[in-house]
């Protein structure tokens, strides 16, 4: 189905402006996407008409806000095809979701000598929490190496798995390279050894249909702000039976059943992991973001973005001196590359002057940059409101950069 791009773009006010005297071309969607009017309006509506603290009030506004917030949880459940809303835990973002799991399992599962496997193409937020978990528990961190193609070395992964492996975590799509990892296989192999698995879906949920039941990961997390929603909200999906066994994370209001000075009993899922007043406006914004994605159609988004990526790759390949960093067979959402002899900072600075927003640098994945021996890369990442005409502007910008620094 062809998308009505004009209608889609009309929903994103931020796109309709000039930057440095040029029409904005926003290709930094892997960092954060722009927000449609329906998300902005849902948040404004909440503060204008509905603001109240949730879950505890008997008054009208509290009931209204609670219903809306819980409707967001149901929307996420639907988006992920999760079994139950109890499995949907709101966090501040992917980073907090990962830290929650790392922290709770450090206190309840990891023992000295246990092994935790991550991959060589993780975002810092899926590296550092596991280093901290190892430091505190005495577990050992193992890393699945990456091949020159940007794909994970699956043979090496199989060799790393053993009876000491307690936990495996990888991203679904690499934010630095765009590699789509074979997570179904990674999950099945880990489960065969009795290890738990967490999938960092930050780069997947905005771009592809995710079915957590079919996937069978024990934990799956993502951030709302990369999928047309507000910043400050993320989601941890966990299997109910595992979440029930885990100790709570933050202590505070909301997460308790009964508090005495002798001891406290904890609330049921999902509230057990949601201490403190949550980001209510953010949750309500997420609900609108899910509706936006459903209205456009998640599959339509995926297909259209694949078309954009293929077009960008084709055009970039025609340019002499373009060096792709990561050329996995299965890529999505973004392209990471360098121009021979030109520093990404210089390229990014000139593109910015031309109104083109891309990301340059290490993309919070320094080990990936070290592995490919580059100071950073230029990364263009796409969303459903981007167009082929914008890619043409971007390509012309690259030629300008080459002219200046070549």
């Amino acid at each position: 189905m062809a998308l009505n791009l004009e209608k889609i773009r009309a929903q994103f006010p931020v796109l309709h402006q000039e930057v440095n005297g040029r029409p904005l071309v926003y290709f930094d969607n892997a960092a954060t996407s722009q927000k449609p009017k329906m998300v902005i309006e849902a948040i404004a509506q909440y503060y204008n008409k509905e603001n109240s603290n949730i879950h505890r009030g008997v008054h009208y506004l509290s009931q209204l806000a609670t219903d809306k917030y819980e409707k967001a949880r149901e929307a996420i459940r639907r988006l992920l095809n999760a079994k139950a809303v109890e499995e949907i835990i709101f966090t501040r973002g992917t980073t907090e979701a990962i830290n929650l799991v790392a922290n709770c399992l450090t206190r309840s599962l990891f023992k000295p000598g246990d092994e935790i496997i991550i991959s060589a193409i993780e975002h810092h937020s899926n590296i550092v929490p596991w280093q901290m978990a190892c430091e505190q528990s005495g577990a050992v961190l193992k890393v699945i190496p990456v091949l020159d193609s940007g794909e994970l070395d699956m043979e090496a992964y199989k060799a790393l798995l053993n009876e000491k492996t307690k936990f495996v975590t990888v991203n679904s799509i690499s934010n630095a390279l765009g590699t789509v990892n074979p997570i179904e296989e990674i999950i099945a192999l880990a489960h065969a050894k009795g290890a738990l698995v967490l999938i960092d879906g930050a780069q997947s949920v905005p771009h592809a249909k995710v079915d957590v039941q079919a996937l069978d990961a024990d934990f799956y997390c993502f951030s709302a702000h990369k999928m047309y929603g507000p910043t400050g909200v993320g989601v941890l999906h966990g299997k109910k039976e595992i979440l029930e066994k885990m100790p709570p994370y933050h202590g505070g209001g909301e997460m308790i059943k009964e508090v005495t000075f002798e001891g406290t009993t904890y609330n049921d899922l999902p509230f057990k992991f949601e201490g403190g007043t949550p980001n209510i406006a953010g949750g309500i914004g997420v609900e609108a973001a899910v509706r936006f994605m459903e209205e456009v159609g998640v599959e339509n988004i995926a297909n259209y973005e694949a078309e954009l990526l293929a077009y960008a790759l084709e055009k970039l390949k025609e340019i002499e001196g373009v060096q792709f960093i990561g050329e996995a067979k299965n890529r999505a959402g973004l392209v990471s590359f360098n121009l021979e002899g030109i520093h990404p900072y210089d390229a990014g600075t000139v593109l910015d002057k031309l109104g083109i927003a891309i990301r340059t640098g290490h993309h919070c994945a320094q080990p990936v940059m070290d592995r490919f021996d580059v100071p950073g890369t230029m990364r263009a990442s796409f969303a459903v409101y981007n167009t082929k005409e914008e890619i043409d502007v971007f390509i012309a910008g690259i030629h300008r950069v080459k002219q200046m620094f070549g």
Binding site: H343, Y345, T349, K353, T360, P375, G376, M404
Partner: protein, 138 residues
């Protein structure tokens, strides 16, 4: 020339340019003029790591003045590094510590000193002043 006079001279040079393109072309030119930091000084202890680009800075004491040489792996950063060296090189520690830099703002390159750029330039300015302070104390 004093630090202020050099800065005013730079501002005057940049006044000739009509658009950003000419300014950046000039920075690229300046980056070529910068005496490259001797490879032996490209040590970890002289490196100022930004998220985006790296800067190397080396300083020495010459009488009551400070000598600076510097380099960067990105050309635009290097052009600005060249300007900073031009302003502070061979100046007295006291003058380096007392004079504020006003030229970067005035020539419209302030964005390169912003938080998000993280190109090492802000740390470089701090480090230049730190050397001046250290040499003054000795």
């Amino acid at each position: 020339m004093t630090i202020k006079e050099i800065q005013d001279e730079i501002i005057e040079e940049f006044d000739m340019f009509d658009d950003w393109m000419q300014k950046y072309d000039y920075l690229i030119e300046l980056s070529k003029d910068l005496p490259l930091l001797d490879e032996k000084h490209k040590l970890d202890e002289n490196i100022i790591k930004g998220c985006q680009s790296k800067v190397w800075l080396q300083a020495s004491k010459e009488g009551d003045t400070v000598r600076y040489t510097a380099d960067s792996d990105a050309i635009i950063t290097k052009g600005i590094v060249a300007l900073l060296v031009r302003v502070y090189d061979q100046q007295k520690s006291k003058d380096i510590l007392e004079n504020e830099l006003h030229f970067i703002d005035a020539i419209g390159l302030k964005e390169h000193l912003s938080m998000t750029r993280s190109n090492g330039l802000v740390s470089m300015i701090k480090q230049m002043k730190f050397y001046a302070l250290a040499f003054q104390a000795n």
